[in-house]
């Protein structure tokens, strides 16, 4: 195709969006029946490049609509409107074990979407595309306020939605990797929830005293939210992923101070020695380290550490005494925690106790441990350094890309609906639904 002649028009709408919003990619004015590759390129904050691409054929009008047309191959196939983001992977030659996570949530993720002649699988960097546009993907909506929280020994960041409020709030916990991870809280604030991202494993107070936090740390964070003039003190939830689930259930069930309106537990378990400190719980997991499995690719599988699910009630959080709605998000191919087995046991315990009307389980086949906000790359394995150790290992999280991407999209939508129903809605607990997807 003569490059001086042909002008292919590429557009992505919207060109600026929240990370959980879909886009429509349109290629127009190509020759009809033409082979094209549509590619996404993103350079993340640590300098690594990620790419994804799909193979298309233009129709009789010379158009490709990524939302409607089949990708015939590439890093994704089929009709996948968001395939170019979901299937992003490090470019060939990259360091192994990478994971894409936004640190600065106040700047957008920039993605370059390009269209190339032919069905390419490699060497994009050496070619000139037919057209190229830039898309911004944001974790914060305009007007969301970011407030570092350092009072009372806390290490966290509060995100407030724009407007006078008052707003319901969510205490947001990540897992055993520690650090202050802000992006999910920022996104929740963009949906109308005040959200406090809390570092509870590598917080300043821990680094300074050498001691792990106690229950009081979470209770202080909860009280900070309650005190805030733009937050409704009776409408506070907790969301926890992985070890964050352990903490969420601990607070929801045993804390005299924390009274949650609802809780969301992603990729976690209720198996924990009860009435123990955070430090003791972490040790109890480490004591079972001999159950670690290493597979042929030298990837660490930790799901057996908490198996079998104990029958002894002192070894599991007493979910039967839970008084608020609970949403469990389960990846059935979780290789890091026994999430599916735990969810089944939680269901049984709550049915026996008569409070299973509070429980909603979202269980997704072929989905791994890291169930994150949608339209982000799927991490099946990555380098990981658990808090309190010095060893970096390659962990197997699990999941198959396409199924995992679908699960993230569905789970996020349902999580937001659950939070809206319980935090914005009336006083009554929502009816239980269980869906096995």
């Amino acid at each position: 195709m003569d490059r001086t002649q042909c002008c292919v028009q590429l557009s992505v709408q919207p060109s600026r969006a929240l990370v959980d919003e879909r886009f429509v990619i349109l290629v127009e004015k190509a020759p009809p029946g033409f082979q094209l590759s549509v590619r996404a390129l993103h350079q993340c904050e640590d300098g690594h490049s990620w790419e994804a691409f799909g193979h298309y054929i233009s129709d009789a009008t010379g158009t490709v609509n990524v939302s409607q047309d089949l990708s015939l191959g590439g890093t994704y196939s089929g009709v996948e409107a968001m395939g170019l983001l979901c299937s992003l992977r490090p470019v060939p030659g990259s360091k192994p074990g990478l994971r894409m996570r936004k640190k600065d949530v106040q700047a957008p993720m920039m993605v370059t979407i390009s269209v190339y002649q032919g069905h390419q699988v490699e060497g994009f960097v050496d070619q000139v595309p037919l057209a190229s546009v830039v898309v911004e993907r944001w974790y914060v909506a305009p007007g969301v306020r970011r407030i570092p929280i350092t009072d009372h020994g806390l290490t966290g960041t509060l995100f407030l939605p724009p407007g006078p409020g008052p707003f319901p709030a969510v205490l947001d916990l990540w897992g055993g990797g520690g650090q202050l991870v802000e992006y999910r809280a920022a996104l929740l604030a963009s949906h109308g929830f005040a959200a406090l991202a809390l570092d509870y494993l590598t917080a300043k107070v821990i680094r300074e005293t050498g001691k792990m936090v106690e229950d009081q740390y979470f209770e202080t964070a909860y009280k900070e939210l309650q005190k805030h003039p733009q937050i409704v003190s009776s409408r506070i939830a907790m969301i926890g992923l992985s070890f964050g689930t352990t903490m969420t259930l601990k607070m929801a069930i045993y804390s005299k101070v924390v009274k949650l309106r609802c809780a969301v537990c992603i990729s976690g378990s209720h198996v924990q020695p009860i009435e123990k400190s955070v430090e003791e719980i972490l040790s109890s997991f480490n004591d079972r380290a001999d159950k670690t499995r290493i597979n042929e690719e030298n990837q660490v599988i930790w799901r057996d550490l908490l198996l079998p699910i104990p029958t002894d009630p002192s070894l599991k959080a007493d979910v039967g005494s839970l008084q608020c709605p609970l949403l469990l998000v389960v990846g059935e191919d979780d290789q890091n925690w026994p999430t599916k087995e735990s969810a089944e046991d939680i269901q049984e315990m709550m049915e026996r106790a008569g409070n299973s009307h509070l429980l909603t389980v979202l269980s997704y086949p072929d989905t791994g441990h890291l169930i994150e906000p949608p339209y982000s790359s799927h991490t099946r394995t990555s380098n990981f350094k658990p808090v309190g150790t010095n060893q970096k290992v390659t962990v197997l999280w699990g999941g198959q890309m396409a199924a995992h991407a679908r699960a993230q999209e569905d789970a996020w939508k349902k999580m937001l609906a659950f939070l809206r129903e319980n935090l914005y809605g009336g006083r009554k607990a929502s009816a239980a639904t269980q869906s096995n997807l």
Binding site: R3, T4, Q5, C6, C7, V8, Q9, L10, S11, Q13, P14, S15, R16, A17, L18, E21, E28, K29, P31, G62, M110, T112, S114, V128, P129, A131, S132, V133, V134, V135, E136, W138, A141, P142, G143, P161, P162, G163, P164, G165, P166, F167, P168, S190, H191, G192, V232, R235, R420, L423, Y424, G425
Partner: protein, 422 residues
Amino acid sequence: MQYAVAPILCVQPTRALVDEKFKVLVKNLPPGRPFTVRSLHLSEDKDYWEAYGHYVSDHQGELSVRDDLSFGGTYTGREPMGLLCTMCPIPGSRPGLRLRKKDVTTPMLVTISVYSGHEDHRDQTPLASVVTERWYMAPGVQRFPLQQSEVRGTLFVPPGPGPFPGMLDMWGGGGGLLEYRGALLASHGYACLSLEYFKPGELETANQQYSYFETAFNIIKDHPQVNPDRVGIFGLSLGSAVTLNLATESAIVEPRCVVCVSSNNIFSRDMSIVTAYTNLSKCPVKHDENNCEVWRDVVLPFMKDTSNNIKVEKIRCPMLCISGCDDQNWPAVEIVDNMMETLRAAGKDHLLTRVDYPDAGHLIEPPFTPHFRSTNFLRSIAQDKVLMLWGGQTKPHSDAQEDSWRKILSFLQHNLYGNDRP
């Protein structure tokens, strides 16, 4: 009424190009009650602009600006974009204001809020409030002010390797450098030069040699990322006269297509712009009941002497002419009638596409921006500030802006993108 928790207000998308639509949804309201949804914008000139609609929530406790009727406010009926199209200065503002973005590298920030009831919202605290960004530049578009050039303007280049089709973009008799339409065209894939050809109030500087415009056209044509065979011209009002002159008389410049909004074919290249305006201003100008100058009737008799007309029969490329039937500043429809006749006689009427919009005025701009029936205008000849009547009624004018922009983009895509036709 005491609200336990704020209602949920969401605007989607939160960040958009100026020509993109949005959805405004409010949820978690008490059902069947009156609410006001309002937009508020602080302009670069520090004036407040607002629009608002009166709604009633449904029995799910929701209201949707896109789907529901407004029962009052600055707009009524089902108006998805009413909160932007019907913006006007808040009470107590200076008269005759016009809203035009100067800095296109930053977005226009609009606060959308919801208030209880249909009474005066300005005394109340809103129930909820969000901010939305409206951009003239898509991500990746690059802005290059022309430096060390006799031509004054700003070049906007789309992201990507190119080659891109190009556009020369010109405004009208108000003068100055207006970048926003050029930036928006670049956001749609056209390398665009927004041209300044005289400073506001300094019409004498408009006596450019025609070579000024030809040089400007060539700046785009010769740009390494522009396809030299695919450069068009966009002119509004006086800018359309320049456009038509270039398209008909230039031996140097050959646009692939031209767009004329509120067309002017009576200022031929042989007559200087200054002379043309001076002649016009010698005539007594009518004033309407608000003391606005109405130029339309002054121009009509001038059209009788066709000796100064641009020889539009010499045009060699497709032409799209957009006119407002209620244009009170310029008899745009009559001018297009005139041109159509001339082209028909020359067997070239297939080159002209005309769209005339009933009840639209002179200032047909990109969509979802306010309509101005009259504004302050610095009259270059007499160096005085007057109130100029542009015409148009808000609803049909807003519809005209939305429809014409879509047609303009489609016309440009048809003529400037795609493979060469034999």
